[in-house]
């Protein structure tokens, strides 16, 4: 009994050792034969799919360098990697004020402007460290089937008016965008929103608190709740609504008035393994044709006005750089949020928990 056990164990160990050796060999061979791969970390999901078609594949066709797209975009992970001097990403997506945070904490390096052509980009879509590769927004979504065009709020003042516009509402469980919406609802003109008067914003929020049925946390919730009939009006990132609309979903409508215009940036982390190729990829991401292709997938586009012209008409209705949409929106002030996010979050936590 014992000797056969020993034999079995030896056989098992031999087999395992063989398998491990094969795997190791398998990994070594492609490393010699394959070309370079750089890593682009982005939000994932629809953005990654659109990014592969618009940026990854063309980049590989042009340079022979493969682009591996990872997710999600997390500035905390970026900070940890840079601090540990073990950076996995070559190009990192930085969402909204996170990009200012990344610059302040010294997490991304200066753009190589000889490689990245910023001459055609609008001033609000680039700085010394990064470029906007996706203008997105937080807008108001509603269930077209249930409310149609009749009794639905057409701006945030009306959203705040539960009597005149009955219906179940949802807002994000976060101060970002909600403080601005609260001020707009309180009658503050769009150009006077910043610096945000926290007291006034929270007083305004007090008025709507009881009427909000759901405080959403996950980006997929707003669209899902509208489709499920869980809520009638909600704030939400418009890219999610766009994805459904393009897939044929006709029940979700979007009100752009008073929406928050936001920016998603890309930069090269300090200590990135392939900075040269990273800069080349960034340069490609703001090329009009590539950016338009990205927008076809997710409706987020860069700051080069020429990109807009490459869009099919049905996508033009969803891209926030569309002049008729942009004029109705408020550009989110990333600098204010950089300075005040902590205070605002603390106050929000206190407010929402009580």
């Amino acid at each position: 009994m014992a000797s056969s056990d020993r034999r079995d164990r030896r056989e098992f160990l031999k087999a395992t050792a063989g398998a491990v050796a094969l795997t190791a060999m398998g990994k070594a061979v492609p490393a010699i034969a394959q070309s370079k791969t750089i890593v682009f970390n982005d939000s994932g999901g629809a953005s990654a799919e659109a990014g592969k078609v618009a940026f990854g594949d063309p980049f590989e066709a042009q340079t022979g360098v493969k682009v591996k797209i990872t997710a999600p975009a997390q500035v905390a992970k970026l900070k940890a990697m840079v601090q540990a001097r073990n950076v996995e990403w070559d190009v990192a997506e930085l969402v909204s004020q996170e990009h200012r945070l990344a610059i302040r904490e010294g997490l991304i390096q200066k753009l190589d402007k000889t490689v990245v052509d910023v001459s055609h980009l609008t001033p609000d879509s680039h700085d010394d460290y990064s470029v906007v590769f996706g203008f997105y927004s937080t807008a108001m979504g509603y269930n077209r089937q249930k409310t149609g065009d009749g009794k639905r709020p057409k701006n945030w003042q009306e959203f705040w008016d539960a009597k005149a516009f009955p219906g179940r509402r949802a807002l994000r469980n976060h101060p970002v965008d909600n403080l601005e919406f609260a001020l707009l609802a309180d009658g503050v003109p769009a150009d006077k929103i910043y610096p945000i008067d926290l007291d006034r914003a929270f007083k305004s929020l007090d008025r709507i608190k009881q009427h909000v049925a759901v405080w959403w946390k996950d980006g997929a919730q707003p669209a899902q709740m509208l489709l499920d009939g869980e809520v009638d009006f909600t704030s939400g990132w418009h890219g999610r609504f766009f994805a459904l609309a393009m897939a044929g979903e006709k029940r979700i409508g979007v009100e752009w008035t008073g929406g928050m215009l936001k920016r998603s940036w890309v930069g090269v982390p300090v200590g990135a393994p392939n900075p040269k190729e990273a800069m080349q990829l960034i340069a490609l991401m703001v090329q009009p044709k590539n950016s338009a292709k990205y927008a076809e997938g997710i409706s987020y586009i860069c700051g080069d006005p020429r990109a807009y012209d490459y869009l099919p008409d049905k996508v033009k209705e969803w891209v926030v750089t569309n002049p008729s949409i942009k004029s109705r929106m408020v550009l989110a002030d990333e600098d204010w949020w950089l300075e005040n996010a902590e205070r605002a979050q603390q106050r929000w936590n206190d407010w929402i928990a009580s």
Binding site: A76, E98, K217, Q224, D350
Partner: protein
Amino acid sequence: MAAPAVIFLAGLFVLPVGQFLLGSLFDPAFTLKHYERLAESRAFLVVIENTVRISATVTLASLLLGYPVAFRITTFNPRLAALTLLALVLSVWISLLVRNYAWMVLLGREGLLSAGLLRFGLIDQKQSFLYNEFAVILAMTHVLLPFMVIPIVAAMRSIDPSLIRAAEGMGARPLAVLRRVVFPLSLPGAATGCVLVFILALGFFVTPAIIGGRGQIMVAMLIEGEVNEQLNWGYAAAYATTLLVLTLAIFAVFHRRFGMQRLWGGATK
């Protein structure tokens, strides 16, 4: 004998976690500012109360539901018992996010519960059962039940059958055997289950975040905000340390009453 395991744990667990938690006191110089800020935070007290209340309720629910299930399993033939336990374990391996979204579908306005109650005339219009404490407790109990059932089954199985035979031999009827022999001897297993479920529940994030309402904000959600968005790791560490101290305190009470080795399924004597 235990040395390699200890080194493994120390190097890959204690050191990194310790380093993070120490960040609450050193930023980089020694400072109490994070704890001062914590003490001033109104949200924190409310959230801790939510966390403890929800965890305690989930533990109670798991106990009430899990105990009879565990008992029934011990009466099964070995094959059926093994299959049932396998089913329980498999449920733990299914993605938490998927299970939570499933609850959203079931409990939502257009969901099964709403439709069912409407059909039987118990409600007069479609209703959502989401974004409240009921939904969170239901979903969390659903996820944590196996952690209650399995220790109780283990405890019941370790009861010396000769004790039962002795009781029967002395003339005890089945109900009395249950009440006076099986039940008391299964209590340590129930206690183990309670501690496991409670401690796991304390750290829950996903369920209260997507199924809960304002009144169900739990500590892990606050920690996530500080770590991921504010990049204020010192403050997040202060939150985490406080939660850890609370958890250790519960452990201490459990140990005094029942002995720590219970959790490992160790000898009852």
